[in-house]
């Protein structure tokens, strides 16, 4: 069986905050940049992380 990593909602929210703080963007700003096809390399690097965090939090808005 594959290893399991159990996380809390609070830990995921904190992880997302840290990712966005590092970029100097709010989530809304990040999503707007993605919609405009204007992500930089650093912003691309966290795209899948932001998506999986939203998925595990059972949110409905993902990066596109």
């Amino acid at each position: 069986m594959a290893p399991v990593i159990e996380v809390t909602r609070e830990a995921l929210l904190e992880r997302r905050r840290a990712i966005l703080d590092d970029l100097g963007l709010t989530l809304e700003e990040y999503l707007a940049r993605a919609r405009a096809s204007a992500l930089s390399g650093r912003e691309w690097d966290v795209r899948d992380d932001l998506d999986y965090i939203a998925f595990l939090l059972d949110e409905s808005e993902f990066v596109d």
Partner: protein
Amino acid sequence: MSEHAALAAAQAFAAELTETVQGVLPGSPSFQAMLVVPPHVQVSVFDPTGKIAKLPLFISGEHVGDWRLSMSVNFDHSGEYLKVIRSAFTLMMAENDSIPLVRYEFDDLMRTAPIAHWQFHAERGAFSHLLGFARSAGKKVTPYSLSSLHFPVGGARMRPGVDDLLEFLVKECHFDTVETWRTSILASRDRYRRIQARTIARDMQEEVAATLVEAGWKVTPPETLPEAGSKFLTRW
């Protein structure tokens, strides 16, 4: 399905991914299952900080590329079958440039772009020029970015599996492999396409039954046919 069974199914899926990828590409780590509470489970390789890790790609032993695989899974409406809700495959240079070269995505919740699509992070002046006509006509396009286009690849049921993505890395990009690559890809493809065939059969029962009758089978319909198939038939 109980939470325990849901987690066990996701763990088995992650273990299968590990076996397939390690059977194809050298230096591949193990996939893990991350969750808050089932049934939402994220299956990827994670680094110690929880970030989805880049997996190394080698040519003649030199680390020249990276790829990343993200699988978000839960269970279908019956609660019986593990279902990939979203997945993403990204290929990039190993150098310090995180802008993808190509990207494949599947998003079952997608409403605008095709559910399964490739995006090419490349430029072609003539294509930008062509899209410029649409922009001038007031259409919502970004001519400067070819990667903003989503190239459709068969919808939810006909989309490529992990086996196809791995074979792309091996045969088209010529990354190093381990000896078992061919049998690992074929085993993965056999599993994936059988699952897809069964899902299509559940969605398209009347068509499947008619085809089986034509082939000589005796088929007895249930009292009520489940309402399914419209998504398969209509979404791109």
